[in-house]
Assembly symmetry: C3
Homo-oligomer: 353 residues x 3
């Protein structure tokens, strides 16, 4: 197996770092401070890991200037070591390559003659591309993906294996869509009549703007009449549910297993912790941060950090807490009666609540 390696000089220039040490050292990968070897690069971003710096056997470490003197090996001094690491990480990423000059369609893929594929596109084995689809340059469609009628996939977007797009889904440029993702399935819309449900055809589409990443097995429903919209720069983790007519604002990040109910509008630059639920028809302001497993049942109109839930306790204590929670009404009554009794015994007025 061939090894991908770069000189420290190259890496320093790549991230715009000041290099203190041996600029000809060849680096073959990235690892943590604890695990890196002499041919690997590491980084110190989280102060909690400073303790590992003196003992590291890394060939070089990306550090902030204030740690440079404590670095026992070659140092790449950078204002934002975590960002520098993020940029360098892609040098060692394994990705299928796309030939920008030609289009490669695996013989087992099924591409409708009425689909339009630009040059420099890779269609993997078993993929199925329907009529009216437009696939732009640099797109990779993974094995066994299914792309429905009239979808548009923007330049350099990559779909991993087993992604499903229903008809009329639009993906922007440089998106990354992970396996098992379903985009454009019907929103959950039904009219009740005589105890039964009459399905409402979901006539809207889904628009995913540029630079969006969508994690494995996440589902995004098509709109009922208007479109469901994911704005540019949004990052969605795995197993997220986005219902019909939701809009998620630019650069918002949502952690795994969260669910957004229908027609809710989430602002820009929000951070939503994992397994949170946001009810339908709400508005979440820009810059809202919701901690994990929060139940959001009203609009949040101001930026800030929001939470709900009761954290973990030993089961025996939890049982007591829960029992007491149900007695709160009675406790409040008892306090009120005590206050009245005190008042009667003691004519000087107690301070008002």
């Amino acid at each position: 197996m061939s090894v991908t390696q770069y000189s420290l000089a190259y890496l320093a220039e790549f991230i715009g770092a000041e290099l203190r040490g041996d600029d000809s050292l060849q680096i073959q990968g990235i690892a943590t401070l604890q695990n890196a070897g002499a041919d690997q690069l590491s980084f110190l971003a989280n102060p909690a890991y400073e303790k590992y710096l003196p003992e590291t056997r890394a060939g070089a470490v990306i550090v902030h200037a204030r740690f440079a003197d404590k670095c026992p090996t070659n140092a790449l001094i950078h204002e934002n070591p975590y960002l520098a690491y993020a940029k360098l990480s892609h040098l060692w990423e394994k990705r299928c390559s796309v030939d920008s000059q030609s289009t490669q369609i695996h013989p087992s893929a099924v591409v409708d003659p009425k689909a339009v594929l630009e040059s420099g596109v890779l269609i993997s084995a078993g993929a199925v591309i329907a009529a009216g689809v437009v696939i732009k340059q640099g797109v990779v469609v993974g094995a066994n993906c299914v792309i429905g009628e009239d979808c548009v996939i923007g330049e350099n977007t990559r779909l991993s294996a087993n992604v499903t797009l229903y008809h009329g889904v639009s993906l922007g440029k440089r998106c990354i869509i992970h396996s098992g993702v379903v985009i454009g399935s019907d929103g959950f819309g039904f009219a009740p009549v005589n105890g039964q449900w009459v399905k409402i055809a979901q006539l809207g589409g889904v628009i995913i703007e540029d630079n969006v990443e969508i994690g494995a097995n996440t589902t995004i429903d098509r709109g009922a009449l208007d479109d469901t919209v994911i704005e540019q720069g949004v990052i969605l983790d795995n197993q997220i549910q986005v219902a019909h007519n939701v809009r998620i604002g630019q650069n918002t990040a949502i952690a795994a297993c969260s669910a957004i109910a229908g027609s809710t509008v989430i602002g820009r630059n929000c951070i939503i912790g994992g397994a949170s639920g946001i009810a339908g028809h709400l508005t979440i302001a820009d810059g809202v941060h919701i901690t994990a497993m929060t139940m959001v049942i009203k609009s949040l109109t101001e930026p800030g950090v929001y939470s709900s839930g009761t954290g973990v306790q030993p089961n025996s204590k939890w049982r007591k807490s829960i029992a007491r929670l149900r007695q709160l009404d009675k406790m409040a009554d008892r306090i009120k009666r005590l206050e009245q009794a005190i008042q009667e015994n003691n004519p000087q007025p107690a301070k008002d609540e």
Copy 2:
């Protein structure tokens, strides 16, 4: 692209509405009151949207009789505008058509010679149909679906792309199964022995009755010995988990990301909010409504609305609430001591709790 259009007269008759206005007007689609144009139809169902009625530019609006006089354009007067909209919506739905006279099997599909396909069936590219499968008239099997041995798929049921049915799954008539759905995977059954788990083969099947819709990436496990059963008219949203031997009663609706643990029986006409969890071996009565993110850990034997959880708060207030929740036992003790002190100071008896 061809345009699908209908005259107002046709639409009025289709839904059984009284038409006030130009019966020859050609309608090309449906949109919201805010967005509809002169060739589109809209509807007023939710009173919260009444404010948009005077300004709408829709070509026509479906309204209840009491709003007819306020409708600034052609009116389709109907007792249940939402239901009327539901019915009309299907006129503009894009669906692959099935030729009822012949069966179309894409050349890349793999159909076992021992599968039985009635006429008027569409098997899409890359689908795999195992031995013993019976597919009835009007069924559509989406691209890259996998149908296991001895499954039966009822008339006019539609499977979107990338659906997986394990062996021995029975689907009724007119069901809609969305992409990424898995039906018939093994229930989570293991016997503990010496700190390890011995798998229990899951020998039951799954029965999905008629007119059931199942949302994207929902999973329904096969039974351990008896079958898992979804009764007719049930609607399941995306990413729901239905464990082995669950039974869900007729016309019950379950919103996204809910989980139903093993052997629980849910009644008819229940509504279960999103991201709810229902523990195993419980019984939920007919007509129960569970709000979103509720934790159901006991049977609910009466119809009604049920909830749990603590709604969202600013993080700083939430931290205090949670801390106080854990002090409730102490608070209760303090109240008790206060009551005793009052009692000692004041021989007149306080009212009993």
Copy 3:
């Protein structure tokens, strides 16, 4: 259809049970005490079902010695009837058979010439196997699975249909991977810079050890630098999310819809209830039992049972509980003032809290 049947004598020997009754009786399957017929076997494991024993029409029942005299039919006496049932259940399981002498590759499967397949392997229709993959003896790859570059799949492991493995995933021996599972998708790692997110390439892999079962639509992300690891004997239910760099210890069981955030380490022999969430960078000790829907936001360093959440209530009572929860701070203040008032009225000191 042929019938699989075994004599009671054979079954008794198979599980090491003492047989009281007709050893030549032919048994054709397993069923519950309530449903079993004269040619079926049943078992009594849960004392709650003892009431069904006297009336059972089963041909034979596996019972503990203490119930032997109450068994109205042939008895298989065993110390652990549930385990005995678990073992017997596999006799009636329907599984595709693998020919240990030859390798069967369906003509529609796409196997890269640089993949290595041992003999006795079954590759189903539409499966796609990339270069560098190693598939050991006895492995079954289901229809339309996609196996990325350089994966290794250990002896006798079975992948159901529509499983996706990204590159560099290692599966141990005798694992069972259900449909819709995605292993090796990118961890959710991004560096924030100027309100945008810079993706961090996920360079680690995923290691699944021997005897692991993974439920339908579960997702397991690859590590950022080190690997994500699922140790031997772990059982994961459906729709679980395992983030990057998580480690799950031997024989731990996790129920459906739980989510484990990044870098958390879960010990051995834990039991984690459904729809639980465990925050990132935590440590969960061996032998921890977490009840369903628990929010774990701190490490649990001692074995024991842990819980959180507020159980279901009628909605009207829940609304009061929640309102009171938010008044707890004020209630605490009122109690404090009452204590002060009592103190002032009554110079004998009240007992301290």
